[in-house]
């Protein structure tokens, strides 16, 4: 078991090298002149060349890559050519915002979709299932940014129940930074009002992000439940007179959960990569917007750093998911 975990962790290294190489090469073969862009419209040719030299863009691509990778081992993610800020510092600021949003929407998605899927599976092809399935179908076909705007319109503009955007009101200072999650940090600091404010600000973006996963996980959960219910061991348990509640929560749920778990693992990666629209609509200062701006400016270092960070989180999540399989299903754990 331990050797398996170590093997999987070791596997991260070649994956990251491949990933960084890919992004590095794609970034540099694209047409465009980031140094000219960063130097500004009035820069002379010498000033543009100076910027290029400062950021190593005048070097052969192999040298640039080598410098980048050796920097990585010293924890140096480089600097942004546009803002000249160290990328590591920027990420420390923006990544927690995105992670908090992703975590909140994932928790929301799981909390809603597992019971829904279970109910739909139990009542397959009857009224509750029909309603839930129709709901999930329309939820899946709803574009995220549109949903965000509609929610803003209803809950912020018409009903004035929830804030329009941001992580906290403009005049409220964030809690002392420990994790960068405003919810956790305000608990740590004992600032209960700030906790409340940050939860209220999380609500709309988290719901917007959660809707598609809710729909998807509900459907998977429904299918898994239906499949599990038809297994021999369920019929057997029923014949033995076990209560439906016991069968459901002790056996069916556990077996149906593995497919759902896979989905959740995949959704972490998907969500991290797709927060940008939600971040824009709700003014959420996260890595999605940071990366988008960097891409538009051909600002390589932030782009590579964000890609690598998402890569690491994605790989780590899937490792955890794989290990959880073993818990759910001992047959898998034997490897």
């Amino acid at each position: 078991m331990l050797s398996y975990v170590l093997f999987r962790i070791a596997l991260i290294v070649p994956l990251l090298i491949g990933l960084s190489l890919l992004v590095f090469v794609i970034g540099r073969v694209l047409p465009g002149d980031p140094a000219a862009l960063a130097a500004g419209p009035y820069a002379t040719a010498e000033q543009r060349a100076a910027v290029a030299a400062e950021f190593g863009l005048d070097q052969p691509i192999a040298v640039q890559y080598w410098d980048y990778v050796t920097g990585l081992f010293e924890g140096d993610l480089g600097r942004s050519i546009m803002t000249r800020r160290p990328v590591a510092g920027d990420l420390a600021l923006y990544l927690p915002a995105t992670l908090e949003l992703v975590a909140a929407s994932l928790l929301l998605a799981v909390a809603v979709s597992i019971p829904l899927g279970l109910v739909a599976g139990l009542t397959a092809n009857r009224a509750p299932d029909m309603t839930i399935s129709a709901g999930t179908l329309s939820a899946m076909s709803m574009p995220q940014f549109f949903l965000g705007l509609v929610l803003q319109l209803i809950f912020a503009m018409w009903l004035s129940l929830l804030p329009l955007s941001g992580r906290l009101p403009f005049t409220v200072a964030p809690p002392p930074a420990v994790t960068g999650f405003y919810t956790i940090d305000s608990v740590l600091a004992g600032q209960w009002h700030t906790l409340w404010l940050s939860l209220v600000h999380l609500a709309l973006p988290a719901i917007t992000m959660a809707l598609a996963p809710i729909a998807m996980i509900t459907r998977i959960m429904r299918a898994s439940t239906m499949e599990a219910l038809q297994q021999d061991y369920v019929r057997n348990a029923r014949a033995l007179g076990l209560s439906i509640r016991l069968i459901l929560f002790k056996y069916v749920l556990k077996n149906a959960a593995s497919a759902t778990l896979t989905m959740i693992g995949l959704y972490v990666g998907w969500m991290l990569g797709s927060t940008v629209l939600v971040e824009k609509v709700f003014d959420w200062p996260g890595i999605g917007l940071y990366a988008t701006n960097a891409i538009l400016n051909q600002d390589f270092n932030p782009v590579i750093a964000v890609t690598l960070v998402i890569g690491v989180i994605f790989i780590a999540t899937n490792l955890i998911v794989d290990l959880l399989y073993g818990v759910l299903n001992p047959k898998v754990g034997d490897r």
């Binding site: 047409p31 546009m82 928790l107 009101p169 403009f170 209220v200 003014d283 200062p285």
Partner: protein
């Protein structure tokens, strides 16, 4: 655990949120001297010499001081660090007397030496607004006469010199030197300040929020009652509009024409729509391809439907020639091309394509809907001449790259030019002088006679003679037809009606001067 969060969120949605929102409003109302400005200027540093975007200008105007200030409409130069100044007859020597009250935020006096240090620093940094004094202020130009007198001997006469001075800030040499860090303090100024301006920075989250505080010991008399200004990055202009309408922000500086129309009659909202500082033109490839023929350029200029362009531009005015009207030097008497298909066909008959039948490319910034509309107007207009237009959306870095040479420059190139100081030189030099070739402001156009005139106008100290020179420049450029002269967008600012003492100035409109502002 998941259920707990879910319950929290549901509770938030259902009940408590109502109290919350009201609570939020109360919190705003309880901070009477706080002004909140929504903007799209991603602030990433506090170096007044390190950038030329509008967030940098916000810092320049509010955290630092320049020798002089530019205010009002039409823009006028007023004393700031300098109480008064004299200019020698040949326009070469400027002598400034500094205000003896002026102090940096650490209490040190602003001296002539600090002024000299600051100009040396911006030249050494070589970025930001350095271009404004490039070739004008040399290594030995500045002489410290005494603690409160500084003398500039320019390399050559430069008529807009006073106009650029508001954008060259004076920094505190002691602070910079203590944090020099091998890069002239540039790393230090990513998160810290070294100014003498009316505001200091209490809290900063890059590309998110700055909490500005009025310096209670600021050396200038007067000013408004705002002691806190929250400069808040609001990425979507629609969100700026909604927040302004709800009273969550007091000012919105990036509103579009659609937003302005939507805000018409909104209670508590004041709309400011004034002559703007940004021109849009379509540049033509005068050096390579079919449009290197001036007759084809003139045919296109006379086929273009300017009225259609105006009508899709929202709050905007058609340009009359290359320089924006409303500024010194603009000559309204020049005959500029307007849609006239007969003349267009006459010009076309003199080209290699008398019957049309060619395809020309135009590029615009991908995602900028306004630019796409203008491209469609061009497409529609040129069909009359049997010329097809291929519209190519492109990313901005890619477009910058295209400007490298006439061969890579497209037939038509969409470009905005900003007026960054109150003088026609800024547009004439950036947009039409051949030294700018290879950059995006003027990729390819060059004409030695126009170059000479632009340089002469730059250095001419006599106003009447300058105006005459600009007249000639505009005439020559119109004769060359290097551009489809487009529109000047009106500046658009949204205010709540409890904001007082806001004075509009067309130079870098988004960089609001906080000093005089009050909230009632």
């Amino acid at each position: 655990m998941p259920n707990l969060t879910r319950r929290d969120l549901m509770a938030g949605t259902a009940a408590g949120a109502a109290a919350m929102t009201i609570g939020g409003r109360v919190a705003l109302a309880q901070q009477p001297n706080t002004l909140i400005i929504g903007n799209q200027g991603a602030q990433t540093h506090f170096d007044p010499h390190g950038g030329q975007d509008y967030p940098t200008s916000v810092i320049i105007r509010n955290v630092y001081d320049g020798l002089v200030d530019v205010v009002g409409m039409p823009p006028r130069i007023e004393p700031r660090l300098a109480t008064d100044w004299t200019v020698s007859g040949d326009g070469l020597v400027y002598t400034f007397n500094l205000n003896r009250e002026a102090k940096f935020h650490d209490g040190a006096p602003v001296t002539a030496e600090a002024v000299r240090y600051s100009f040396e620093r911006i030249k050494a940094v070589g970025r930001g607004n350095n271009w404004m004094i490039d070739g004008v202020v040399g290594p030995d130009s500045i002489r410290v006469v005494d603690d409160h007198t500084v003398e500039f001997t320019l390399l050559q006469p430069f008529a807009p010199f006073l106009q650029v001075l508001p954008w060259i800030s004076v920094v505190n040499p002691a602070v910079i030197e203590a944090n020099e860090g091998g890069d002239l303090g540039q790393t230090y100024l990513l998160n810290d300040t070294a100014g003498s301006g009316p505001f200091t920075v209490a809290r900063f989250e890059p590309e998110n929020v700055i909490d500005f505080r009025r310096d209670p010991t600021y050396w200038r008399e007067g000013g408004g009652n705002t002691d806190t200004v929250i400069w808040r990055y609001v990425r979507e202009n629609t969100n700026q509009r909604l927040m302004l309408r709800r009273g969550e922000i007091h000012m919105a500086v990036d509103l579009t024409s659609d937003d302005m129309s939507a805000l018409e009659g909104a209670p508590g909202v004041v709309r400011v729509i004034e002559p703007g500082d940004r021109t849009f033109s379509i540049k033509m490839n005068t050096e390579h391809g079919p449009l290197s023929d001036v007759n084809l350029r003139k045919a296109v200029s006379h086929a273009f439907d300017y009225d259609a362009m105006r009508s899709v531009s929202g709050f905007a005015d058609l340009m009359h020639g290359p320089l924006p009207s409303g500024f010194f030097g603009h000559d309204p008497s020049i005959d500029v091309p307007r849609k006239d298909l007969d003349r267009a066909r006459e010009y076309l008959a003199q080209t290699a394509y008398p019957e049309g039948g060619l395809t020309l490319d135009i590029v615009h910034v991908v995602g900028l809907e306004q630019q796409r509309l203008w491209c469609l107007v061009l497409l529609d207009s040129l069909q009359e001449l049997n010329i097809d237009v291929n519209i190519r959306p492109s990313t901005w870095p890619d477009m910058v790259r295209m400007c490298e040479s006439p061969e890579t420059f497209p037939d038509f190139f969409s470009v905005y030019l900003g007026v960054s100081y109150a003088d026609p030189d800024v547009i004439a030099f950036a947009g039409y002088h051949s030294s700018r070739n290879g950059g995006w402001q003027n990729g390819v156009y060059n004409n030695a006679e126009v170059d000479a005139l632009i340089e002469a106008a730059r250095f001419e100290p006599d106003e009447a003679r300058r105006a005459e020179l600009y007249s000639q420049i505009q005439q020559n450029i119109v004769d060359d037809a290097p551009d489809l002269f487009g529109v000047v967008e009106r500046a658009k600012v949204g205010l709540r009606d409890n904001v007082e003492n806001y004075e509009f100035s067309p130079i870098i409109v988004q960089a609001v001067s906080f000093f005089p502002l009050s909230v009632s």
